[in-house]
């Protein structure tokens, strides 16, 4: 094409025109049968498909719609970032699950704490390339109590030598890089104060990855074994022993636009059930009422996310600290109750095993799998129980045990 810029939607400076542009592009670029093709596809095919879709998004400037210009993103105003994610979810465009950490957690981490060189080098690998990132925080002995991490990094001249084990790391088996949280000071008075965050090249000698099969049957996460792995000191993110605070910003990145996209998909699915699919259980009075009762809650979570996004834009500091936690604690149990309801309503029919449909968030249309997958929100990124501790102790001011 003579002028590739001409296809960029990000040049549209009016919200309505932008929305129409995104809709038109989606109507054109999105194969209508992608779900059917992806159902039960091999992991390689699923990954290939996601990279293909990332490339389609890139052609119109929407590979990284929420990245500001400083990250090399399109620098869209917030309203248009929301429109981009809303429209992609409404059109049922594939969710780029493989790129989750690359698109959300990585930039949130590097933006405040990374060096200019790190930002230039690694953000461009996502923006212009296919770099898959994973997050290596959890360990067999450090889950909710993340600060008790035991994997160590010992400084040796211009590099660190890393030994230990990480687990539950999503997409680690496909990852090029890992955001690795390790202990650099075993003697710190407070265990939170001895941690540092690193960029690990997954091809480094001494890195072994073992995939773990999940309850959904998919192989989404993995263990990472680290045996005398060398990481250059220039790959440390932020100061030594300051990793804990940076890791918190990594974790909170998923409670904004990413959640908007997931919640929007669930909402679309909900509306479709009552208006298009009309499953036979809707003629049961009890189930129909229970179904109707989810309307207010699903609407609420969308409103809470919308509020968070508008506050982020206006940088209203006060509630910015509390609302993401409230959102996670509203959303995760709700998603689980709702997907559980759909399985129960479906009865025996939905007990029959069906292959998963990747890239659909929690709206694959296979109720049992959507339900099983809901635990990823209730357990990871701070379990429900940990969120409740935070609300009670930090927000409501109740004393620690």
């Amino acid at each position: 094409m003579a002028n590739p810029g001409s296809r960029l939607l990000t040049g549209l400076t009016d919200d309505d025109a932008f929305r129409r542009g995104v809709q038109a592009w989606l109507a054109n670029a999105l194969p209508t049968d992608w779900r059917t093709r992806l159902q039960g596809a091999t992991e390689e095919d699923v990954n290939r498909f996601q990279l293909w879709w990332l490339e389609e998004r890139r052609k119109v400037g929407l590979a990284t719609p929420h990245w500001p210009r400083e990250w090399g993103g399109p620098g869209l105003p917030f309203s248009r970032q929301i429109i981009a994610y809303e429209e992609m979810a409404r059109a049922d465009a594939p969710e780029l699950e493989l790129m989750l950490i690359s698109l959300f957690h990585l930039p949130a981490t590097l933006f405040d704490a990374g060096t200019q060189e790190q930002r230039d080098l690694y953000l461009s690998g996502v923006r212009d390339g296919n770099d898959v990132w994973c997050q290596g925080f959890s360990e067999p002995g450090a889950g909710s109590d993340l600060a008790s991490i035991r994997t160590t990094a010992a400084r040796d001249a211009d590099h660190y030598v890393v030994n230990g084990q990480k687990t539950w790391s999503s997409y680690a088996m496909y990852a090029d890089y890992c955001l690795l949280l390790v202990r650099t000071d075993p003697h710190a008075a407070r265990k939170h104060d001895g941690l540092s965050l690193f960029i690990l090249d997954m091809r480094s000698p001494g890195v072994t990855v073992r995939p773990i099969r999940q309850i959904t049957g998919e192989g989404e996460f993995a263990e990472i074994f680290l045996d005398d792995v060398i990481i250059p000191a220039s790959n440390r993110i932020g100061a030594e022993n300051r990793g804990w605070a940076i890791a918190q910003s990594t974790l909170s990145s998923e409670r904004g636009l990413l959640l908007l996209s997931y919640a929007e998909r669930v909402w679309q699915g909900y509306r479709k059930l009552s208006q298009v699919t009309r499953p036979s259980w809707l003629s049961d009075v009890g189930l129909r009422r229970e179904f109707a009762s989810f309307h207010a809650e699903l609407l609420t979570v969308r409103l809470m996310i919308g509020r968070l996004l508008s506050m982020t834009e206006e940088s209203e500091e006060g509630r910015l600290a509390t609302l993401p936690v409230y959102i996670k604690l509203y959303w995760a149990p709700l998603l689980q109750r709702y997907t559980e309801f759909l399985v129960r309503a479906g009865g025996l029919v939905d007990q029959e095993w069906q292959p998963p449909v990747a890239c659909t968030g929690h709206s694959s249309g296979v109720p049992a799998l959507d339900f099983l997958k809901s635990f990823s929100w209730t357990i990871s990124g701070g379990s429900n129980e940990i969120m409740r501790n935070i609300v009670a102790e930090r927000f409501l001011g109740l004393p620690r045990a």
Partner: protein, 359 residues
């Protein structure tokens, strides 16, 4: 109205209620303390002086012409203070007359409602309609909220096959008002018995589309009740959180027990969400296609959550929460009545499901 203006309005509601209706007074009033009953009269006067009954009435009829969002703030404040202000049915009567009354009815009643000299009570949607094809009406109507204090009744009624409402003044010959206590001591109801009461033509409100008018009222009521219940639940939760920070057992502050903390965290989360939902449905345009759906869906959900939170608060207070001298029961009773008014969960959810399928 901007959020900041609404916040100012909320402050003014809360200021008055803090001064005139502190929670100890609500407790005393509930136990029939004569002093509290007489201060209640002072509260009613202040409420009228400040123009609360006029809030949503159009300016041309002597009202303040404020939005439903402002109304929601008023009910949040009333619920939070468990204030015995007979407001809901007056609000709804004004909405009914404003929406479906004749110009003469509007001119006659709305200024009187706005000035507080007329207090109304209106049939709940589930109540059967009275019938009257001639000039005199007999029958009885139950479940009239705020009926004991009302001087105007708007009763669901049918005339020559047309459904609507009939306006009956409490002082008219042949009208007997029998007050009924409710479980919620901050409000009351009445039964009205009509014996050959003369009904003029201009007492009838017979809109061509009574279903639409009833939905309009339902939407108002849903938002007011959701707000009222949420206000009560927020007060209950705040007071139990304070208590859990000081009460000690087993040598520790009971608020340090995780089993209790987690419940409070869930309640707090539910109420933060409810606030967001209430603000949204209260601000929706009249014409919005999803206005009714969202309002009744929110009412069913918020009233449910409020009833649940206020219920658990009694449990969290322990024995003290079971005493009449403690306010915890007032919040629970308030929320339970709000849940039951204008249809309980099941009826509303059936309607939500209908609207979802139609939308």
């Amino acid at each position: 109205m901007s959020d900041a203006d609404l916040d100012l309005l909320s402050e003014s509601f809360a200021d008055l209620l803090r001064a005139e209706w502190p929670i100890e007074r609500a407790v005393a009033f509930a136990s029939g303390d004569p002093a509290a009953i007489s201060t209640n009269e002072g509260l009613q006067r202040s409420v009228i002086e400040l123009g609360w009954p006029a809030l949503t009435i159009a300016e041309e009829h002597g009202g303040l012409g404020l939005s439903r969002a402002a109304m929601a703030r008023l009910y949040l404040a009333l619920g939070a203070a468990v204030a015995p202000v007979p407001m809901l049915d007056t609000t709804l009567a004004a909405a009914l007359i404003g929406d479906a009354g004749t110009p003469a009815q509007r001119e006659r009643w709305l200024p009187l409602i706005a000035s507080g000299s007329v207090r109304a009570s209106i049939s709940q949607p589930a109540m059967p309609a009275l019938r009257c094809d001639g000039a005199r009406m007999s029958g009885h109507a139950r479940g009239l909220l705020d009926g004991g204090a009302a001087n105007l009744f708007l009763l669901a009624a049918e005339r020559r096959g047309r459904r609507g409402w009939v306006a009956i003044e409490a002082s008219a010959a042949g009208v007997l008002v029998v007050p009924r206590r409710l479980v919620d001591p901050s409000r009351s109801a009445a039964e009205v018995v009509l014996d050959e009461v003369a009904v003029e033509d201009d007492a009838w409100i017979l809109p061509p589309d009574p279903g639409r008018v009833a939905d309009h009222l339902l939407r108002h009521a849903a938002i007011a009740l959701a707000a009222d219940a949420l206000g009560a639940a927020e007060s209950a939760l705040a007071s139990v959180i304070d208590y859990l920070k000081t009460r000690q057992q087993f040598g520790k502050v009971i608020g340090s027990f995780q089993a209790l903390k987690h419940r409070l965290a869930d309640h707090s989360t539910a109420l933060v969400g409810a606030r967001e939902l209430l603000a949204y449905v209260a601000a929706m345009d009249d014409e919005d296609h999803h206005g009714l759906l969202n309002a009744i869906s929110a009412k069913a959900q918020i009233a449910r959550v409020a009833a649940d939170v206020t219920r658990d608060c009694i449990q969290l207070f322990g024995g003290i929460g079971f005493t009449a001298e403690h306010p915890a029961h007032l919040y629970l009773k308030r929320a339970k009545l709000d849940e039951a008014l204008f249809e309980t969960g099941a009826g509303l959810l059936d309607r939500v499901a209908d609207l979802l399928e139609a939308a």
